[in-house]
């Protein structure tokens, strides 16, 4: 059983989901960890051309990609080129002989499904679906990071992108004004999300302070991104991101079904809302009925105290 894990790099090193894939590939069989090189910006055609040529020659049984913006795009087109089965955003998978079984959500998170396909297959895997073996977790920022990175990186085979296959031209990158250099929403272990109850974009300073203390990514309800208070990419829910962090903190979010679909698979959910009838409390492990503007600064202070004490 030959398994490929396609990894991705961010500014600070291999992405966590890539390490998760590499570890899983090793458990499943004869693993190779591949990285597309030579592209300043990921683009589907040169990446797919290079991988498809290699797959034709080496015949892996399973190709794993992260369910990241790049992985979902690459996985779909690669599967179409190879005419292999494709499952996106798997939250678990197993192999029995030549049959792949995967768990994934459908209907925008409202249904959990078990799906089956014949190998060979391409699967995109949700960040956090597989736990990292001990010692493989990305190092925290700070001294000695380079050494630790060396230690935790699996052996990577470079696959040069096929530049001759490109049909598009990259013009420029336009950063979002509010972009903060935070951890991507889909991969964060802690997410702090704000809703209409935050009353206005100027109040996000309070959310950012809490997120800073927690090392969290920022999320938002659709009402908030539609109103232009926060960038679209922070939207959690049906037409935004689906997240399943260890801790999801919903601040002033009422809990429309489309929002709930995007976050109910979080391990622990905290909701703060002044409306005791808000639907968000139906999925919360811990609910606080409170005026956000009183509660939030106090909560941030308490978290900071606790973090400093530990």
């Amino acid at each position: 059983m030959k398994v490929w894990a396609i990894v991705e790099r961010s500014a600070t090193g291999l992405r966590r989901v890539s390490l998760e894939l590499a570890a899983k590939a090793g458990q499943l069989g004869d693993a190779a960890v591949l990285e597309i090189t030579g592209l300043e910006r990921y683009s589907a055609l040169p990446a797919v051309a290079a991988l498809a040529t290699k797959a034709d020659a080496e015949r892996p049984d399973l190709i794993l990609v992260g369910a990241t913006p790049m992985g979902r795009d690459l996985g779909a087109r690669l599967a179409a080129r190879l005419a292999w089965a494709y499952a996106s955003e798997a939250t678990d998978l197993s192999i029995d002989g030549s049959v792949l079984t995967a768990m994934r959500t459908m209907y925008a998170g409202k249904v959990r499904a078990t799906v089956r396909a014949q190998l060979p297959a391409v699967v995109s895997v949700r960040p956090g679906a597989f736990t990292l073996p001990r010692g493989a977790a990305p190092a925290a920022k700070g001294g000695g990071e380079a050494d630790r990175r060396e230690e935790r990186e699996p052996k990577i085979e470079e696959v040069p992108a096929d530049a001759s296959a490109e049909r598009l031209a990259f013009l420029r990158f336009e950063p979002t004004a509010a972009a903060s250099g935070r951890i991507p929403l889909g991969e964060a272990r802690v997410v702090v999300s704000g809703g209409r109850g935050m009353k206005g974009p100027e109040n996000w300073k309070m959310i950012e302070e809490l997120a800073d203390v927690l090392g969290a990514a920022l999320g938002a309800s659709r009402a908030v991104t539609d109103a232009g208070w926060r960038p679209n990419e922070e939207q959690v829910g049906q037409t935004g991101r689906t997240v399943s962090p260890d801790l999801y903190i919903a601040l002033g979010i009422s809990g429309a079904i489309q929002h709930l679909a995007g976050m109910t698979s979080s391990k622990v959910i905290v909701a703060v809302n002044k409306d005791p009838e808000a639907d968000i409390f139906k999925v919360a492990d811990y609910g606080v009925i409170a005026d956000l503007f009183e509660f939030l600064p106090a909560f941030t202070r308490e978290v900071k105290k606790a973090k400093e004490a530990s």
Binding site: A44, A76, D226, N232, K305
Partner: protein
């Protein structure tokens, strides 16, 4: 220019879906149907181009059962010019790659300059058909698009898209949403764009729009007559279940500073996530 939108009819996103008694599909009797949300954004984005350039023709196509005609009617009422329904026996059960081949047949006949799809349909959530359609056509694709416009080319070498000076080739600038912002990509010639969001909220059908849509014919194509290769890798659903039930959580009613301290204690000692 002509834009073709590939859309799918899926359960209305504002309603709950229930797993059927067979444990591997949803209870269709309980469902109201609508255009899949991302496909609705794709329709809106195409209509925004038509607002900017009224010469633009926006066509919409779906592959599915007979009821999918309602989704097309909805798109026409929003302002699309034409609609095509690919249906017939087996249309609903086609696997992703075969659906892409069916769309590709329609694209080859309709000859649009650009094809728009939602980034994923809100039933299978796969996000496969858009990139697969580009693959079948041999076109490039750009994913998670939020905007496109005719390229701003230096004046002496070109005019607006499609005019002499670009060699008869339409050149498009396409905004792709990525982490931290947007990448702007240029496509020279036809491309498939999978849409993340439109610039504005999808428009509601106007009353005249609804009246006009009622009068428009929606030609039907039998999927069997397209002559596509229907063999495709299968992704079989063997089980469906509702997400694990949640709730029964602890509620702190006194929202003051003591609640803040209590919540931190619970998150550390009980939930062990701090």
């Amino acid at each position: 220019m002509k834009v073709l939108v590939c859309a799918k009819q899926t359960p209305d996103s504002t309603v709950r879906v229930k797993v059927a008694s067979d444990g591997r599909s949803i209870d269709a009797g309980q469902v109201t149907w609508a255009i899949s949300p991302y496909d609705e954004y794709a329709v809106e984005l195409a209509l925004e181009r038509k607002d900017a350039d009224p010469q633009t023709i926006v066509a919409v196509v779906t592959v599915g059962p007979a009821r999918a005609r309602d989704a097309l009617r909805q798109a026409l009422a929003m302002g699309c010019d034409e609609a095509i329904l690919v249906t017939g026996q087996g249309a609903e059960a086609l696997e992703g790659l075969a659906v892409a081949r069916a769309f590709a047949k329609v694209v080859e006949e309709a000859k649009p300059d650009l094809v728009l799809c939602g980034r994923q349909a809100s039933d299978d959530d796969q996000g496969f058909v858009g990139p697969a359609l580009a693959e079948v056509l041999g076109w490039p694709h750009v994913a998670t698009v939020t905007k496109f416009s005719p390229a701003e080319l230096p004046h002496e070498t070109s005019g607006p898209a499609g005019t002499p000076g670009t060699g008869g080739v339409d050149v498009w600038d396409v905004w792709k949403e990525v982490e931290g912002g947007h990448e702007v990509w240029r496509a020279s010639g036809p491309a498939v764009l999978t849409v993340q969001k439109s610039e504005k909220e999808p428009r509601y059908p106007s009353l005249p729009g609804i009246m006009k849509a009622k009068k428009k014919g929606i030609p039907e194509r039998d999927v069997a007559s397209l002559g596509i290769d229907a063999s495709a890798p299968k992704l079989e659903v063997v089980k469906m279940e509702p997400p694990p039930a949640r709730g029964g959580g602890k509620i702190l009613r006194d929202g003051g500073a003591s609640a803040a301290a209590e919540l931190v204690r619970l998150l550390r000692e009980e939930a062990k996530v701090l």
